[in-house]
């Protein structure tokens, strides 16, 4: 009875949980963040006055593999959510861990790519390509990193047994974030790598 008011606060006008509306609104804001970065990248395309230029360095086969890894992490993510919703603890643990690991592989790939570029003389401040490229993909990488930490925290909760179907909502919200980051990469893969 005492908790009547609290219940009231969790009850929502639209029937959609607050957190879910929040994450979608946040994703809307993120669209503008990446939109501005992409606009900057495209505005400066082909304007570098010294090399190396994108076509000298971008390694399509390599990045195709990491792209594939990130796509599959999204699959792992939905499977994780579905396992949590069904109360399948083993599945939750496996798929949450898989998602995080795939995300880390992607980040490792980005690390290899970045250090290769730097090694080839394309440091951050080398030219406009390097500046826009590192800013754009770096921002994306930072988002993946936050996602990995988030997933590992959820994994920690599941391992302690704190995550049953009653808490599926927080996994769903993390998943929405994760898929959005994936979707951004789908765009970047095309804009940066395939349409050089």
């Amino acid at each position: 009875m005492e908790h009547e008011a609290v219940m009231e606060m969790h009850h929502t006008t639209t029937g959609i949980p607050h957190r879910k509306v929040l994450i979608w609104t946040f994703i809307g804001s993120e669209c503008m963040l990446f939109g501005s970065l992409i606009a900057g990248y495209l505005a400066y395309r082909g304007r570098s006055v010294v090399g190396p230029y994108p076509e000298d360095l971008l390694n399509i086969p390599f990045i195709t593999v990491t792209t594939f890894v990130l796509l599959m992490s999204s699959l792992a993510m939905v499977l994780a959510l579905s396992a949590v919703q069904r109360g399948n603890r083993r599945g939750s643990i496996i798929w949450l861990a898989a998602t995080a690991v795939l995300g880390m592989i992607f980040l490792g790939g980005q690390y290899i790519e970045f250090s290769h570029f730097v090694h080839e003389g394309l440091g951050l401040s080398r030219n406009l390509f390097s500046a826009t490229f590192f800013l754009l993909t770096g921002t994306h990488g930072a988002h993946v990193t936050v996602g990995v930490i988030w997933l590992l925290s959820l994994l920690g909760m599941e391992l302690k047994g704190n995550l049953g179907p009653g808490k599926a909502e927080i996994v769903e919200v993390a998943g929405l974030y994760w898929h959005f980051v994936d979707v951004v990469w789908i765009v970047l893969f095309t804009v940066i790598y395939l349409l050089v």
Binding site: T12, T13, T14, G15, I16, P17, K20, V21, W24, T25, I27, G28, S29, C31, M32, F34, G35, S36, I38, A39, L42, A43, I60, T64, T67, F68, L71, M72, S74, L75, M77, V78, L79, L81, S82, Q85, R86, A168, E169, V171, E172, G175, L176, H179, F180, D182, V183, I186, V187, F189, T190, L194, L195
Partner: protein, 105 residues
């Protein structure tokens, strides 16, 4: 925006089979994209083809993995509205920077 009644609680929307199928399609489209990239013959039309293919992947993830296909109109507009503004601004900036100028590559 209107009142949207939708699943208040998270429950599975889709079978895992569908998810795996969607992922397979995503992988395949990615492979096709890379193929298009390497095919000299397609060079002149590479931009429209790749834009369409990546838009398709984008929509698949949004619709199935992010459940927009099943969730209410409200969430869809919360995503679509900002996305529209962002795309419009990217296009306007491309135009301002001469991407669509006659004779531009």
């Amino acid at each position: 925006m209107s009142q949207t009644q939708s699943h208040g609680h998270s429950e599975p929307h889709t079978s895992n089979k569908t998810y795996v199928l969607v992922a397979a399609v995503l992988a395949m489209v990615t492979a096709v994209e890379v193929m298009v990239f390497y095919l000299e013959a397609l060079r002149p039309v590479i931009v429209p083809i790749l834009v369409v293919l990546s838009a398709a992947k984008f929509s698949l993830v949004a619709a199935f993995f992010m459940h927009l296909k099943y969730d209410g109109r409200l969430l869809r507009s919360l995503f679509a509205g900002p996305l529209f503004v962002a795309i419009a601004i990217i296009l306007a900036m491309m135009a301002l920077y001469g991407a669509f100028a006659v004779g531009a590559a």
